[in-house]
């Protein structure tokens, strides 16, 4: 009998402790920032390998514009852009990983849509790449435009993406019957298309350009000129932690704004003596911008010095490897693109 009581009390105690943990965590507003600083690294969800966006080399170093967003956050909150733990996720797993708390930032070429933003406990913090869905076909097929698609065409793609929905809208509106072949992993899609299972491969155009470099003979494939959808890609955080949301948003904005003011990783320190107050604010020489997040004043300087501005990141990851040398809409608004971020002040 005594034993039973003892077991019972220990169980009650266990439950009480667990409850205490959850309620305490709920009370604090920036739980994520606290946890990150305690752990010493930023937990970042990325793709399973998309050159230019998030891709790991043979020794496990991640690079890409999506990766750089997480590195920027790490530089801001931990002082070291390398203190990031990357979790490769499939399109299917990504949101669950974020909402269940396995990762704190999802930076994985994810399209910002109303239902994702509103429905499933996510908050999109901005856009780091303006993209649109396109089609890839074999060059020798003679197809040069989506207008040449015929009934019975088979299209390889990923499951769990907006691609699947856009594809349906596209083929339906044109009255073309098609066979969707949807795989879980991008590598499997590419392998299937490359082997001839499908006549066309459809996903975001940046993805097509990146995956093309992985194919047996990249020159045998072309991306058709048409864009069938808007795909603003950007980092995502969990709903319910406004401070963390702001940190991620402004880490990204800092990179873009730094490019606008010509601040680069190499000249950032010398910019402290600039005459322009906007530049001085960005490199932490004026104002108290970091305090609003509970960070020190050099947070943005560290981002620029360690990760670089958006232009540097784009050049390093996307333009130089020859994925998409032309920045297109991902050019600053001052140079004919649509990259425009609110002022940091």
């Amino acid at each position: 009998m005594f034993n039973v009581i003892k077991k019972l009390t220990s169980f009650v105690a266990m439950v009480a402790v667990l409850f205490a943990f959850t309620t305490e965590a709920m009370a604090k507003k920036s739980k994520t920032l606290k946890n990150t600083q305690k752990k010493g690294f930023v937990r970042c969800g990325v793709s399973q390998g998309l050159p230019g966006f998030s891709n790991a080399d043979a020794s496990g170093n991640w690079t890409g514009v999506d990766v750089d967003v997480c590195r920027a956050v790490a530089a801001a909150v931990l002082g070291d852009a390398n203190k990031v733990k990357f979790t490769p996720l499939s399109a299917k797993e990504r949101f669950t990983a974020l909402t269940s708390g396995e990762i704190d930032i999802l930076s994985r070429n994810t399209t910002w849509t109303l239902s994702r933003d509103a429905d499933i406990g996510l908050t999109f913090v901005g856009v780091n790449f303006y993209d649109g869905q396109g089609f890839m076909v074999r060059k020798n097929s003679g197809i040069t435009s989506v207008n040449q698609f015929k009934n019975g065409i088979s299209a390889c793609t990923n499951i769990g993406t907006t691609t699947e929905l856009n594809m349906r809208d596209f083929f339906n509106s044109r009255g073309i019957s098609y066979e969707p072949v949807a795989f879980e992993k991008a590598d499997e899609v590419v392998a299937a298309y490359d082997a001839g299972r499908c006549d066309t491969y459809t996903t975001d155009k940046s993805g097509l350009a990146a995956q093309r470099t992985k194919m047996k003979n990249p020159d045998e494939h072309i991306v058709l000129p048409e864009t069938i959808s808007k795909e603003p890609l950007g980092p995502v955080v969990r709903q319910g932690d406004a401070v963390w949301e702001d940190i991620v948003r402004w880490s990204l904005n800092t990179m873009i704004e730094a490019e606008e003011y010509g601040i680069t990783s190499s000249n950032a320190d010398s910019m402290k003596t600039s005459d322009n107050p906007a530049i001085k604010r960005l490199v932490g020489a004026e104002g108290e911008l970091g305090a609003a997040f509970g960070l020190d004043n050099d947070w943005s300087l560290r981002i620029i010095k360690q990760v670089g501005n958006y232009g540097e990141s784009y050049k390093r990851n996307i333009a130089d490897p020859g994925i998409l040398p032309d920045r297109g809409p991902n050019q600053l608004w001052t140079k004919g693109g649509i990259l425009y971020v609110p002022p940091a002040r």
Binding site: T96, K150, S154, L165, A182, E184, E188, G196, Q239, G240
Partner: protein, 383 residues
């Protein structure tokens, strides 16, 4: 009184403990979901799904509901499981019996087959059949016909589809055949029990199966047309077959992998069952003058089945659950369509995963119930 409490108390505590754990997790999930602004509910099932599925047994398009998409996935899972269960049983029985063959070559080939296929992880076998074996197939324009009118290509196996007129008459005739075979075999059994006369039931049934449905073509107004798949050009270099029925390569690869893998386990069950019957049984049967065929049919098999059925049921259950690996090669089964695409598009993880789990549980329980019923039927009736 004291004794009674001692007996019941631990049980009550266990129940409370289990309920407590469930309550704790439900409560926690509720709070976490509230915090992140996620609603719980099954209302999404009636919403328009707006995604298409490659292969479906029922009419489906993106304008149907998520509930319909669920049904599409479920039917695809049942289809692949059903076909694979039939193939794995046939192969399993053949190889199980072959392992006991007195012929050295047959016995050892069967042993190699079993050891080879059961010792390679199933997922690898699926990938092998899909990427290596099926990818070695020709593109549509280079595929030569098999059996005249079917085409095996990298885009699928194309077979003619049947176009029936008065199909119902034909189906009724088959129903009539089944009923008459049942009546004849019951009568034949009675005749044998009462008068010792043997009736060639097998040949009578065979005759019926051929004659009656054939007759409907002549007097029932039944006719059958084939729609043969035709090659169609999509672009300068790509072709596709149009018309007929196209079985996707994903389905073929999955059936191959599942039935080959599971058949090895069934083969071992069959071998164990036959070996479990004492030598004395066969000798006793032979001594009363039964032929070898009769010994197998009347003495060995009825007893062996009792040993074979329960472990084979487990293999069927495993096969059904293993069919969820389909997601790896784009076969639109329940996991890919519902727990994959639908989950992603709605974000209703808890709801969809619990529905999927319950579905697999129900399929497994249903298979187990059927097999248990069959097992009850053939087990020794103690008098």
């Amino acid at each position: 009184m004291n004794n009674k409490i001692k007996k019941i108390l631990p049980q009550i505590i266990t129940v409370l403990f289990v309920l407590g754990i469930f309550g704790f997790f439900t409560f926690n999930a509720q709070i976490n979901m509230d915090n992140r602004g996620i609603d719980f509910g099954f209302g999404f099932l009636t919403q328009e799904s707006s995604f298409d599925v490659q292969f479906s047994l029922i009419e489906y398009s993106g304008s149907h509901s998520y509930a319909r998409a669920y049904l599409v996935g479920l039917l695809n899972t049942l289809l692949v499981s059903f076909i694979s269960i039939i193939f794995c049983t046939i192969l399993g029985v053949i190889f199980g019996v072959a392992r006991l063959s007195p012929n050295y070559l047959i016995r050892n080939s069967a042993a190699w087959y079993v050891e080879f296929f059961r010792n390679i992880p199933l997922l690898l076998q699926i990938f092998f059949w899909y990427y290596a074996a099926l990818r070695a197939l020709p593109v549509p324009e280079k595929a030569g016909p098999w059996f005249g009118v079917t085409y095996m290509t990298i885009k699928g196996y194309y077979i003619p589809s049947f176009i029936w007129t008065n199909l119902d008459v034909f189906l009724y005739s088959i129903l009539a055949v089944i009923i008459s075979i049942i009546i004849i075999s019951t009568y034949a059994k009675k005749l044998q029990e009462n008068e010792g006369k043997q009736t060639p039931v097998f040949f009578i049934s065979l005759g019926l199966i051929f004659i009656l449905p054939t007759l409907t073509f002549f007097i029932g107004g039944v006719s059958l047309d084939f729609e043969i798949p035709v090659l169609k050009q999509l672009s300068k270099t790509s072709y596709v077959f149009d018309g007929g029925i196209g079985l996707p390569p994903e389905l073929i690869a999955l059936v191959l992998a599942l039935s080959l893998y599971t058949s090895t386990f069934v083969a071992e069950c069959v071998r164990a069952g036959i070996q479990g019957i004492g030598k004395g049984q066969k000798e006793a049967a032979a001594s009363v003058g039964l032929t070898p065929n009769q010994i197998l049919k009347l003495v060995v098999m009825p007893q062996a089945l009792r040993i074979i059925i329960p472990p084979t049921t487990n293999q069927y259950l495993n096969l059904t659950k293993n069919s969820s690996l389909a997601a790896a090669i784009a076969y639109p089964d329940l996991v890919l369509v519902f727990a994959g695409t639908a989950l992603m598009q709605t974000g209703k993880a808890i709801e969809i995963v619990s529905i999927t789990m319950l579905t697999y549980l129900s399929i497994s329980l249903a298979i187990a119930a059927i097999m248990n019923w069959y097992n009850k039927k053939i087990e020794i009736k103690e008098k």
